[in-house]
């Protein structure tokens, strides 16, 4: 065995995607999202895409721990719920400004992430999956017991949060661009994290934690930090989600929601942040389309999920890579 170069840690996916796809996809994606409201497609489409961007943001955050850290967190919906409830509770208590809501969401998410992450990361593999699931349920039941905020029924936000006292988010187009701006900013942040030394250690910890530890890195600390960061970004998505739907309920934290987030990441292509956005798009289109088809759409959806796992590897972007790779060679 020769000496390993740092580059080995950088390859986050089994097959490194082509240069073209890695950079063109996010640029095209964000450009398309930026012009979309001006195409006159109607509010239904803009609303759907707003929702897609929010779920995409949560999926990006999940991909950070799932794709790069190799940690299958099955309780990420809890963070989404924490953000959403921060907005829901503070709006109800007449403190519905971003200066209260954002710090509250980030702070609680960081605390919750630090506690659950510390305990969960003491285990590996399947135990980690189950424990994060159980902590997600814990948050779910806690939200259910908040009788002041609607308990199981949830609470309706009487208005969207204000931004430094100004009520700007009630305008749908403004809200759309705020969501897009947050998405781009946090996407860039995640790209920077992944490319940084910290991100490389995180990925390397997935590949070979023993070697990394012998090199003197504290893998657990890096993982915990990544888990907390991921949780905080997800909480931001939660704040946006609550403002988008103007409604918060424990259902945001249900374990099915956590499963959907994982599915979104896998669907788009695990370990590639732009994949998470595409996964969210396809997921929502699928949901909308199937729901129109039949009220029992979850039957089709469930079967589709099984099929995706059994027959496709690398998600949608992985398939595109394959096509592009073939085109270039042939």
């Amino acid at each position: 065995m020769s000496v390993e170069t740092p580059a080995m840690a950088a390859s986050a996916t089994p097959a490194r995607p082509s240069f073209l796809v890695r950079n063109i996809v996010p640029i095209l994606l964000f450009a398309a999202l930026a012009v979309l409201p001006f195409l006159g497609l109607g509010s239904y489409i803009t609303q759907l895409v707003t929702r897609m961007m929010i779920l995409g943001l949560a999926a990006i955050a999940l991909d950070l721990v799932l794709g790069y850290g190799g940690l299958v967190s099955f309780g990420h919906a809890a963070f989404l719920g924490i953000g959403a409830y921060a907005a829901g509770i503070l709006v109800t208590e007449n403190r519905g400004d971003v200066v209260y809501i954002l710090p509250a969401a980030l702070g609680v998410a960081a605390l919750f992430g630090a506690f659950t992450g510390y305990v969960s990361l003491r285990t590996r593999g399947v135990a980690f999956i189950m424990i994060t699931l159980a902590f997600g349920q814990m948050a779910f039941f806690l939200a259910q017991s908040l009788s002041r905020y609607g308990g199981d029924d949830g609470v309706t936000l009487y208005s969207r949060m204000s931004v430094f006292g100004a009520d700007v988010l009630s305008n749908r187009t403004v809200f759309y661009f705020v969501v897009l701006g947050v998405l781009i900013a946090l996407y860039a942040l995640c790209r920077a994290i992944v490319a940084s030394r910290f991100g490389r250690v995180l990925s390397a910890g997935r590949e070979n934690p023993v070697r990394l530890a012998s090199l003197g890195y504290d893998v657990q600390r890096v993982r915990l930090l990544a888990y907390i960061i991921s949780g905080m970004i997800t909480a931001v998505a939660g704040v946006l989600l609550a403002n988008h739907t103007e409604f918060v309920s424990p259902a945001y934290m249900s374990w099915q929601r956590s499963g959907e987030l994982i599915f979104i990441v896998i669907l788009g292509g695990i370990g590639r942040l732009d994949g998470a956005i595409i996964g969210a798009l396809v997921f929502l289109l699928l949901e909308e389309y199937l729901a129109e088809l039949t009220e029992h759409w979850k039957i089709i959806f469930g079967a589709l999920l099984v099929a995706v796992v059994l027959f496709t590897r690398g998600g949608i972007l992985g398939q595109i890579d394959k096509l592009l790779g073939r085109a270039r060679h042939g």
Binding site: V126, L142, S145, F301, G302, L305
Partner: protein, 308 residues
Amino acid sequence: MSTTLFLVQMLNGLQLGVLLFLVAAGLTLVFGVMDFINLAHGVQYMLGAYLAVAFIALTGSFTLGILAALVAALVIGLVLEVAIFRHLYARDHLDQVLATFGLILFFNQGVKLVWGAAPLSIALPEMLSGSVRLMDGLLYPVFRLVIIAAGLLVALLLWFIVDRTRTGMLIRAGASNAPMVSALGVDIHRLFMIVFAFGTMLAGFAGVMAAPILSVEPGMGDQVLILAFVVIVIGGIGSIRGAFVAALIVGLVDTLGRSFSVDLFKLFMTNANARATGASFASMATYILMAAVLFFRPQGLFPARGRT
């Protein structure tokens, strides 16, 4: 709180623990031997309950209906094993989680399609529907006692099979080192299938037993599944003994927590505060317990031998 109430709640906790054990035993066996995380295990529990409803209505007989439901649950489990699960054993845990999650969505909606979304219930036969007087002022439903007895009996049987028979020996060997067992000439696929069928039957049995005392509704397996996860994490993944002890602990903590936490908090809080805090504490008690156990023993209370 009176002694009688406490005893009744102890029995209720025991009964929940026994049901949890039936579900968790299969889950931990399948995981221990095949390294396969099966979220759809709760589906087997739900199907057991629904099939019991259907077959009791069909045959008009409680006993016949329950037997038919057990067989049908087993058959469905085996079909799923051959069609889907078998292809997932070698995959990573993420794929397993996702595919079995898909199955949950499929079956939850499926039972809604077939039986409707409204909760169903089963009438108990006269022999089992009464209560017995256990002591002064303590009446307890017969059927709940039957559940406890049946669950303990199954636990005993399971111990006998796993600890005292040749198949059990192979199962234990498979849990420690499946490739080695295979290399020694044992048909590992057949072993896997036996283990899986076993686990499926136990979960189905739990569902059948639960059907008369709980409302049978779509998604009823999810709650049990998550509690079963808590159980096997506390007990130590892959350990049946651990699952048994942890199931009883979780059953008791959950039941007692729900009935007494408000009283407990009333000792040092105002009534209104105690009610709110008690309610949320009760629903989180099992998870707090799990966090505490993991904090001190990351491998669970009874780590299975031979696993690293």
